[in-house]
């Protein structure tokens, strides 16, 4: 096992600068998730750690050793590919044994390690099958088995669940997390799905356009997003944003949204009087208010999921989402009043998009 340090790493593809100075530290045994929209450079970064892409600038160290010029096979890493990349002409057993066979390990050791990995992943009955004969979830498991067998310093996962259906994805998510708790191997996991990131990660790294927008523990990112992008990306349904202005007066700091309604701000909110801001409220932190209180909203659509009720409504001209644990029956067009949990609202500078708390 080893730590991974990525220092000021750059990547150019011809004239395009796809990774623009990224710093990430992954502690020994940590499960780090790189998350971001497609094209943000997260997969490229992972492939650079694997040694499948050259590093244009900066350095990557695995276990304290800079690996910029180390070929992939000497980095002692294992990777799970999005399309699994199982060798179609080899049985499951041979797929898992391939790396050990190349390393010229004795037959008995290979068998023992393959069987152990197969037991961990419940692949025992499938060892004599070809990848063609497996379902998507089983192939996914074989791909992980191939990684486990090698007992590498670092696991790399490149969107491993994106080819699975929704139900299986949730199950495999848990399985991977369980596996990590058991093996405690340093892992770097790439996904575009923020729920995967939130549920699995010790550390989340949010990337956009080749830079790191924020990194930290999942709940840290949820509670204190550093900017508008992270605030909108982490959390589902996404955070609501309203254009607003800060008003500091005798009765404390308040924020004035369109229509002149004011809402109190958290005690530690920064920002000056008259500053243009974006006011952020998470859907799950909105509550219904009595007449004359909170923000006036007009119901657009109601989506009951059973467990909760999602209400899409309009405040001024802006569409917002609210999630209630209780069941409500609203009609489209009905006027309701929404009040945010003041201590859990967010303020972002209207120009830079940066959080005013950080």
């Amino acid at each position: 096992m080893a730590s991974v340090h990525i220092r000021n790493v750059h990547k150019h593809f011809g004239g395009t600068h796809v990774i623009r100075g990224v710093d990430i530290d992954i502690a020994d045994g940590e499960f780090a998730v790189l998350v971001g929209p497609s094209g943000c450079g997260k997969s490229t970064l992972l492939r650079m750690v694997a040694g499948l892409e050259e590093i244009s600038g900066g350095e990557i160290a695995i276990g304290g050793k800079v690996v910029n010029d180390t070929p992939p096979k000497e980095r002692d890493i294992a990777m799970v590919f999005q399309n699994y990349a199982l060798y179609p002409h080899m049985k499951v057993r041979d797929n898992m044994a391939f790396s050990l066979m190349l390393a010229k390990r004795p037959r008995s050791e290979i068998d023992e390690r393959v069987n152990r990995a197969a037991t961990i992943l419940g692949l025992g009955d499938l060892l004599e099958r070809y990848p063609r004969q497996l379902s998507g979830g089983q192939r996914q498991r074989v791909a992980m088995g191939r990684a486990i067998v090698r007992d590498p310093q670092v696991f790399l996962f490149d969107e491993p669940l994106s080819n699975l259906d929704a139900k299986l994805r949730v199950a495999m998510r848990t399985e991977i997390k369980e596996l990590h708790q058991r093996l405690k191997t340093t892992s770097e996991y790439v996904t575009h799905d923020q729920i995967e990131a939130m549920t699995m990660a010790d550390q989340i790294v949010v990337m956009r356009d080749g830079i790191v927008e924020q990194r930290g523990r999942p709940l840290e990112l949820y509670d204190h997003p550093a900017n508008l992008f992270v605030a909108g990306f982490i959390g589902s349904p996404a955070m609501n944003f309203l254009p607003a202005t800060i008003r500091r007066g005798s009765n404390g700091a308040r924020v004035e949204v369109a229509g002149g309604v004011t809402v109190p701000l958290p005690r530690d909110a920064a920002g000056e009087d008259g500053q243009k801001v974006i006011f952020g409220m998470r859907p799950e932190h909105l509550a219904l208010a009595a007449d004359g209180q909170g923000l006036a909203a007009q119901v657009v659509v109601v989506e009951p999921t059973g467990a909760d009720t999602q209400v899409f409504a309009k405040i001024g001209g802006t569409e917002v989402t609210a999630v209630f644990r209780e069941r409500h029956e609203f009609r489209a067009g009905e006027a309701i009043r929404l009040v945010p949990d003041h201590e859990r609202t967010h303020l972002f500078d209207a120009e830079s998009g940066k959080s005013l708390r950080h």
């Binding site: 694997a50 890493i77 990777m79 399309n83 060798y87 190349l102 099958r129 070809y130 063609r132 090698r150």
Partner: protein, 298 residues
Amino acid sequence: MNRLFNNKHFLGMLFMLPAGVLLLVFLTYPLGLGTWLGFTDAKIGRAGHWIGLDNFQYLVGDSVARLALFNTLFYTVVASALKFALGLWLALLLNRRLPFKSFFRAVILLPFIVPTALSAIAFWWMYDAQFSVLSWALERMGLIHTYIDFLGDPWNARFSTIAANVWRGVPFVAICLLAGLQTISPSLYEAAALDGATPWQRFRHVTLPLLTPIIAVVMTFSVLFTFTDFQLIYVITRGGPLNATHLMATLSFQRAIPGGSLGEGAALATLMIPFLLSAILFSYFGLQRRKWQQGGRD
């Protein structure tokens, strides 16, 4: 009647009828006629009589026919092996990221596009005893002192015709194998690299097994084409010198048309069928679709 036309099997038969008739008239009839001629003493201008296996008995004892059989096997084995090796090498090269890739891929096909008779004439000229550009170039480089007798010496002639055949056949093999290479997912190579495979091991354990099905098909065709080759030999050497380059196809033509012995020529051509059939069966049974290619569950 209406019920008949709603019957799937009857309709299937009906729709296959035109194709069946075409096959029967244009494929089976000539093949059958050729085979039948092999059992007669037909000559040009004279209808033949059934003589049983006489033609075959004669051919088995005929040293020229036996030489032609040896030549054909030698020609086929050596040329096919060279075509496979060079074709695979070219395909691997063209599958890499190189500048002007599409240009090279197009150029590779040139020998395949040129009419055989035309390229054969070019080779004939290059192999000419007096005007050979190859001999001239080698002499100018100081590598040889007398012109090489490409087509006058039996073994020289054999290798010269094989070279011409390889030149013509490599593009087909290379392009087909290239198509096969492109179906192999790059992530398999990446996975293999991470698994610790050297470039050779990647070729040996990933490329080659995944390419086997294509290799089987391509090489079957290549062997069939080479075994039945006629044009190149007929233009470059006409079977000479001393019948050293006569293939079964050229000798069969020689005996049947210029020689007039239709029956004997036909018998010689018929003798090719068992060899061709065994090549097809070998590829069908030995190299048929592997288990891993078949979909579904076991």
